[in-house]
């Protein structure tokens, strides 16, 4: 059972690490808005859509599909 003397402190160190990471995440706005970020990956990159917009409203990329 002496292994416990190693394993439990190790688990507690991991726990403290996880706790610090969580505190950091909370302080860096990660938990303030749980809704919006879920949608962001679905969006086209802004540069692409703006470029398309700049070239005079060409919607052919969309209509072709």
């Amino acid at each position: 059972m002496t292994i416990l003397i190693v394993m439990i402190p190790l688990s507690i160190l991991l726990l403290i690490g996880a706790g610090i990471a969580f505190f950091w995440a909370v302080d860096h706005d990660q938990f303030d808005d749980m809704k919006t970020p879920a949608l962001l990956p679905l969006l086209d990159p802004p540069d692409a859509s703006e470029a398309q917009h700049a070239t005079g409203h060409r919607d052919d990329a969309e209509t072709r599909e």
Partner: protein, 814 residues
Amino acid sequence: MTKDAHACWHCGEALPERDAPVAMIAGQPRAMCCQGCRAAAEWIEHLGLADYYRLRSEPAQRPSAAPAPGQAWSRPGIERHLVRDAADGTREAVLLVDGIRCSACVWLIERSLGALPGIERVQVNATARRARVVWRPDLASLEQVVEALARTGYEALPLDAEAIDDARQRESRAALKRLVVAGFGAMQAMMYATGLYLGAFHGIDDSTRDLLRWFGLLVATPVVFYSARPFFEGARRALRARVLGIDVPVALAIALIYAASVFEALRGGVEVYFDSVSMFVFILLVGRHLEMRARHRAGDLTDALARLAPRFADRIRDDGSLERVGAAELKPGDRVHVAEGSGVPADGTLASAACRVDEALLSGESAPVRKRRGDPLVAGSLLVEGPAELLVERVGSETVLAGIALLVTRAATTRPRLAQAGERAAAGFVARVLVLAALTAIGWILVDPSRAFAATLSVLVVSCPCAFALAVPAALTRALAVLAGSGVLVVKPDAIEHLAGATHVVFDKTGTLTEPELDLDRIETAPGIDRDEALALATALARGSRHPASRAIALHGAELAPRNATDVAAEAGGGLSGTIDARRLRLGRADYALPDRVIADEHEDAVVLADERGLVAAFHLSERVRAGAQDAVAALRASGLSLEIASGDAPSKVAAVATRLGIDAWHARLRPADKLARLADLREHGARVVAVGDGINDAPVLAGADVAVALASGAELAQAASDIVLAGERLDALAGARATARETMAILRQNQRWALGYNLVAVPFAAFGFVPPWLAAIGMSLSSLVVVLNALRIGRRAQAGPAIAAPTRREVAA
């Protein structure tokens, strides 16, 4: 979402019967319900953002027809309060954005603002409905930001610069950290405890046992000293105020269990309870967290306070003309014109003859108060009958309203009556448990002192008040979330209880069952009077009023050369009167405008303009039944409610709407006082009444009902007096809301019975020493879990299908 061929592509409302405006979106012609929607949709298309329509999950908000007051935002006096200068020369403001319905709105706002030159950063939080915008002052302005949002169909309200450092955000972050620390601690403590329990059965050497106990102490200590701090602070506050709040027994139990465990660990005694204490704190924090989130959502609604205080005022110049300025720019001694239905911008005294105001904000009493010349008026109260002239005395942070807003933000807003009752029950229960625990200890010391401590702790732990304390907030929180998701904003949580027990629904007609915007069909003039002349006179009277009929007239008369009306006064349920070119004119219902004359049948339901000599003109307005009204009425009736219409309108019009919707009981030509009497009559006969309304005429009626429901675009007045707001003006959501409310009450009662039943069974067992503390801790956790899981069932049925539960008669008082 389903795209209905008869619904507006942009906002989802019903299309007009003919000549719907059409916009080209992504190469397809799409029909719109109004020009506002067409403009918004074309603007979105022009920005290359038509993807919004693919991404969104909710229809957009219908853009308001009123022009955005963009220009006024950039006046230096206002900007000073709303804008913060950053070190790198940029400016920053936080806007409360109305109409964020789904995440696609976030995308749309970020993109459409990002396309403006000079905008550095846009950050939208859909949950808090706030947008933070950073811009370069040489290229853009707050005015442009607000205007761009208005063009896309969102109404934006800049918040004070202090709102940037959000106290609420700090609170929720701290709570989240405490919760997670408690969760981690409870998890680890449970793990070591499992080892100890297994050791107790299979044998464990003392050194390993002590090792596990010391680690238990290590993880439980931050839980007790960090996570549980709110309980200790709450208990200290309660004791200082000499009351026995719920925090007192909770803090006592935590301190007792922890201290006893530390003592036992130090002396190598029989049992330690680090797992129980951690779990106890964790479960309690879960309950608090749920409650905090509900409170914050309510806090969003107290942002309405920001809206109650008007940002703009119409200052009267020396020559008598009006000048639109920011409320913050007013100085003591200024004279301000306040239109009927709008808020008073500053504290001061009434300088015109008389008016009536709703001071619910101050007194909680929403019956309008009559004011005479020289009486004090407070900022944020609403002018029910006006217009009025105000002599400003105090502005900004010195006003009574500012004091109230401060109180609201500081105090945790009023807690629902149900939750208070639940908490009182829990506190009483805990007091009894403490007595019982003491008796148990004394009893066991007499019988078998070695088992006294374990049995006493078992009683304390097994009978934990969590299930009691969670029973109500868990159900209410879930209900508020479900309702908010379906567009029903509950302003006062008590309304859920009342809505579930309602027996009658009284609808207002205009603006509630029918569309708020009226159309001016035709104008009939007395011989010798020009049509434009009549319209110009009526417009002069109607300009300051927000009644739908006034707005329809003012809209049509806007292009004519403006006339100036003085002494304009309004009588709720009657009409307006005023003097134009020394001629006394009345505009309103025929019996108001022509008090002593026989009214011709064709003028019965028209808006009549008359002078001392008689009829000048009659304005015939037309109205449409609101989309969804039919479904709402059918569903409400199916759930066993009696429906009726109480309207101030002419009998023929009310009858027409009642017949179309299949409502048998209707009352026409009711003044607000008559409507109140009708409600009082119903309530006297045991009915519990839901009043649904919108518009100025309803405010006293809404205040007189058990539950007041307002449609979100109604005049500010109706919203201020309401318990429930139907966002997006979706009347059909009301039936679903009632089903949810009934379900909530049923589950809430189940929860309370479960908590009581569990404790009645478990406590005697524990007192007689049949329950070891570890089993007590599991039982306590499970009983709390059952309560939370049960609460999560609310809204399941509504999501599965729109079926409305068959009505069951049941007493409501808990």
